[in-house]
Symmetry: C2
Subunit: 458 residues, 2 copies
Amino acid sequence: MTDSRQQAIDYARAHRERFLEGFLDFLRIPSVSTDPAYRADLERCADWVVAELRRLGFSNARAYPTGGSPVVYGEWLEAGPDRPTVLVYAHYDVQPVDPLDEWVTPPFEPSIRDGRLYARGVIDDKCGVWVNLKAFEAMLAAEGRLPVNVKVFFEGEEEIGSPSMEPFIREHHDLLRADFMLVSDGGSRPDDPTIMYAARGIIEAEVTVTGPARDLHSGLYGGVVHNPLHVVGRIIGALHDDSGRVTVPGFYDNVRPLPPEELSMLASYEPDFVEMARKDTGLQAFWAEPLGSFSVRATALPTLDVNGIWGGYQGPGSKTVIPARGGFKVTMRLVADQDPADVQQKFVDYVRSFATPTVSIDVQTGPLGWPVTMMFDGPQVEAIQRAYEATWGKRARLIRAGGSVPIMGMFQRELGMPLTSLGYGTGEGVHAPNEYMLLDYFERGIATAIHFFHNLVA
Amino acid sequence: MTDSRQQAIDYARAHRERFLEGFLDFLRIPSVSTDPAYRADLERCADWVVAELRRLGFSNARAYPTGGSPVVYGEWLEAGPDRPTVLVYAHYDVQPVDPLDEWVTPPFEPSIRDGRLYARGVIDDKCGVWVNLKAFEAMLAAEGRLPVNVKVFFEGEEEIGSPSMEPFIREHHDLLRADFMLVSDGGSRPDDPTIMYAARGIIEAEVTVTGPARDLHSGLYGGVVHNPLHVVGRIIGALHDDSGRVTVPGFYDNVRPLPPEELSMLASYEPDFVEMARKDTGLQAFWAEPLGSFSVRATALPTLDVNGIWGGYQGPGSKTVIPARGGFKVTMRLVADQDPADVQQKFVDYVRSFATPTVSIDVQTGPLGWPVTMMFDGPQVEAIQRAYEATWGKRARLIRAGGSVPIMGMFQRELGMPLTSLGYGTGEGVHAPNEYMLLDYFERGIATAIHFFHNLVA
């Protein structure tokens, strides 16, 4: 077995340039799920991946239409009934690109500079799709088979909270049945492999404050018309107290305290976490320190962030206007055992309580992303650890993710399936301009995947 | 004399179509002073008005370059030394046009519908320039002369606080010397002529809150990185208390209380003011009632309005970002005897006090616009009253303006010149989409101006 996996790894090395060219083609498709203008690109991207699966010899490969982006599915089930079946998850949609003018090279024209591959989605999460596919291709070419049965499930709505996935999963229980699910979203820092064992849930809301029927002149109505932007500020200013604690009543209900062993594991990461964050953010001081350690606040406590504010005049110079309306977008990260529907309702009720006879307040909410708890140990986790030992030369740290992969919570709740994670993204700039992947980790990721699938049976 | 003024009025009526065509040409020039992209248009607009002055036979007509928009000057001084000299002020620059998609017809393509002339700047304040010029043209054509000596002074920076005007005035004391200044900016509601006797000052500021060195993923840094948008909200939320009172320390220092006779005059306007505001704004309830009556709050107390907020993601859907920065634009209206420099400094100090080790705060300020107190009675005011009696059939109400004409405070402080106001704008939509002037008041404005200039000497 060791020999055959080495043949697959050698194959991947020999075909590195071709594998990379295919990756660049994949990255050129602007599969931005948050903006309806890219809908055709999402469909094109799904079809492109389906064609790749068929080329590899996967069966039943197709793009399933949904209410939103298509689901890409395909299977290779010839390993035999005594071998486990793995459901491999990744997502082919990407974040929007703004602020576009901060990109050194265009986000959908992949560019290699100093050993880095720059492109929107290169880390999050097109490498999750592509590295798995290339590991399969290498194993099939070198060994004629895969060591386990594989179903791939690539979605195109992860960046918008997977609104169509829950009904899709509910209608396709049989199709998706597997022994466990491998989540290939996210990644590790250079020389610091990690395995995610928990992720936060996420909910979103958009608040609009409306005052006068039209924009007004502040010289005519300043002092008598309630300016909606003042109310926007007042609400945002009232979402946290001075310690950084979220003030939405009941927000922290049901937050599960961490067990002492996990707290001490997180404490051991703390100096490293803080140092990394200083370098990454350019900040010396962090926020909300009364609430807990850096690691706990970043991963094990719920949060609320305003992601965008708008209203009135934003051009050069000044404009003496009282705008008719203004608003903001917000996301909240949730942890076990918070119920997203419950927290969402508490947020809506709290924000609406700021309405007065002088302004009205509208709150639009999005899909519910549940927090998730994944495998902490067992043979599948051990298969990942041994793969890292073989390719990175060290075992992985177990980490909580501060981010969210809503599909995981959905799977857990819909299928009762255990989950673990193996992500290939090593680089920076997720959800920001100039996202890049370190090219060295492209080949290494394929080798890690090959080891992992073999380790599941040997 | 009555006969000759009637000849001028008849001339204006006979040439109404030509006068209107010229007005439309003037309105087609997009003289937006707040946006540097329109600089060439401002210069073209100034040259266009200079050419018109020359055509009328004005002497020394020229566009004076300044650090910003040109000043248009011209004079007709042949009335004789026994006649008064009037310095006529108006401004040819206009407000920006956004939100552009709310305009029924394009803002710089004048459109006449239902007796209304729609165009950006038609009220504020191109009619101030044009109606005076057409009154002069009619008098010169019908009578061969003007009843008084006239100097015109049209600026192109009023909408941005006239930053270049103070040095210009200081360098041109002799050029601008006159017995008094007529301010043709603003106007009256239909059948309700008004004379402005006070206007508020204005100062502006732009606040930027900066946190991390780049946009961050809220899943990675939510709960540990201080979100600049939270601080934007916190500052805005702390600019007023629950009663609507501005909380900047010392903001109300030096506010001159109104004398009882003025308070009772304002009280007599109150029901009418409130009713008009309800119709105009679509609001039933107004703001800050504990601070004073509607009229007092709208005109005789200082105010602070946030005119625009920005930061993070504003497109469709959501984006889980902690932006590197966010901010807001603010203007404050001031009354006698507030000192704009003093209030500006108090605002800067207060906003900067929100800086923490986790975010920095930058405040950029603009020019200082002083509050102004104008003629309340005397022969010039009486000349306006008689002009209104002749053309509107009633005398004007004396009003405080809630808005600002910074050039007036500058003249008052630089030249010690008395001021009064005769504005021709009757319509709606100042500083908003679909600005329009009632066409009936175009011709009536020219007649009012003709009467006024004659009334000064007879």
